[in-house]
Amino acid sequence: MTWGAVLKDAFKNLFKKPATVNYPVVLTKAPEGYRGKIDFDVNKCLGCGNCARVCPTYAITMVPSEVTKLKKQPQIEIAKCVFCGSCVDICPTKALWFTTDYHISGFTKDELMV
């Protein structure tokens, strides 16, 4: 039994560089495969509506559209999204995918609509 069992290591650590990253100045890059903000390509979309049926928080609604085959396209509210990935997995034409963008905040609701 001793007093101060960490003193030796604490002294050595005074001369090493810190273990934290100075965040707003130095940005860490998220790894590939990170589930960040969702992105959408309307040219690949069929308008089938499967993504809206599968979403657990009802964040996807189908709105009318001119471009797709079935005349509907999804509108995603990022504020309600939990980034689970069910919509990405079920889309038959891979029109939805995850980006590595984790800076998701905004001042108005329109900034958070995809």
Partner: protein, 400 residues
């Protein structure tokens, strides 16, 4: 002169915030009463309104630290109801994520206990080492907390050889660091005074009061769901039950440190012996299950997690019942805390690992003088550290 002291609920950390009311006689605690319900979100009722596949993402949010244990237990129970067997490779990945989660949960708890006892250096060291585990989990699953790697019928993502090598290196790093933490926690005198012979829970009391998890293994009872009711692939892995027999807070620290060795060995074994094959059976999210009911039991980092599921042939479940391990351990806290000083409340309540949600506000009421003093969590910790510094000699002569 007797006091009645409520210790208030709010702490935004993980499971349930708990409110205790302590009945005091001078500085010694005579009785305690728990009041819970501050984070009740009605999840069991909400789960009856979502489909079997949408519930995977609802139930993992019950707890932030044991999220994979909740989701894996639900997926296992839903596989019993749908009557399917997931592929072998999926079970290996599922167990690897469960054990990585146990390592980072125990490291978090070690840091929090060190912080409660006034040892902030160890708090910083354990949380620095925890970052290596969170980095490998983020590369495998996509997020640091709330991994969503399980689905009904297997796992959603596969791992390649590169990631398995990285996981093996992280497991070897954890084995190294755990040796260092075991040396510090069992030799440093300032930690030993505050944790030995406090919060005694004898073997018969632990069985009588229904305790689960590392708290009961610290009272020399060999109970572990991975050993008594094996599930997934635990029978093939190099798993051993860890027990220790001094029945106090020190014993709980030693049990959790030694469990980290076992978990790191299991991760290494899986990285070397994982079979090849598919990882998902590909069940459609719009499929209806047969009429059935099932139970699913899993060893979460805090103890035994019990799920009961019932289906009546519909797309949505009829009933889901969840019993989390902290609820089973509250009764033993009331039994353990009688006869101790106020300054012993942080290590005893923190020793059952309740996601540290129990103590944020302390209200001391002096009934005779009608005077109230309010302290928040940081002040209670500072008060208990100062009290111990002043009364160190009395305590040492009383207990040793």
């Amino acid at each position: 002169m007797s006091y009645r002291m409520p210790i208030g609920p709010i702490h935004p950390m993980l499971k349930e915030p708990i409110n205790f009311i302590f009945y005091l006689d001078g500085e010694i605690i005579v009785d305690a009463e728990p009041n819970i319900g501050y984070a009740h979100r009605g999840i069991e009722k909400l789960a009856e309104n979502k489909t079997w596949f949408q519930n995977l993402y609802l139930l993992e949010k019950i707890c932030g630290i044991c999220s994979s244990a909740h989701q894996g237990c639900y997926a296992q129970g839903a596989e019993y109801i749908f009557d399917v067997e997931p592929p072998e490779r999926a079970l290996h990945i599922r167990v690897m994520m469960w054990e990585l989660e146990r390592i980072h949960s125990h490291l978090l708890w070690l840091g929090v206990v060190a912080h409660l006892l006034g040892f902030d250096t160890l708090f910083m060291y354990t949380w620095r080492d925890r970052e290596r585990v969170l980095d490998i989990v983020e590369e495998i699953s996509g997020r640091r907390v709330g991994y969503s790697i399980n689905t009904v019928g297997g796992t959603r993502r596969d791992v390649d050889d590169n990631l398995l090598n990285k996981a093996k290196k992280v497991a070897e790093f954890i084995l190294e660091q755990t040796k260092y933490y075991e040396k510090v926690f069992t030799e440093d005198k300032s930690l030993l005074i505050r944790t030995q012979n406090i919060g005694m829970l004898s073997k018969t009391d632990a069985i009588r009061l229904g305790t689960v998890g590392p708290t009961v293994r610290a009272s020399d009872v060999k109970r572990d769901i991975r050993y008594n009711f094996p599930y997934a692939i635990y029978e093939e892995t190099p798993f051993e039950v860890v027990t220790f027999d001094s029945c106090d807070v020190f014993s709980r620290v030693v049990v959790r440190i030694r469990e980290m060795y076992v978990s790191a060995e299991i991760v290494k074994w899986i990285a070397e012996n994982i079979p090849s094959g598919k990882v998902d059976l590909g069940i459609s999210p719009f499929k209806k299950p047969p009429v059935n009911e099932a139970i699913s039991i899993v060893e979460a980092p805090r103890g035994e997690l019990y799920y009961y599921l019932k289906s009546n042939g519909d797309l949505k479940p009829e009933r889901i019942k969840v019993r989390t391990p902290t609820l089973a351990n509250i009764i033993s806290v009331i039994h353990m805390i009688k006869g101790h000083y106020i300054a012993d409340i942080p290590p005893i309540v923190g020793g059952i690992d309740p996601c540290m949600a129990c103590m944020d506000r302390v209200l001391l009421v002096d009934i005779n003088k009608e005077k109230k003093v309010v302290m928040d969590k940081e002040e209670l910790i500072r008060y208990s550290i100062k009290w111990y510094k002043k009364n160190k000699d009395i305590v040492i002569s009383e207990r040793w």
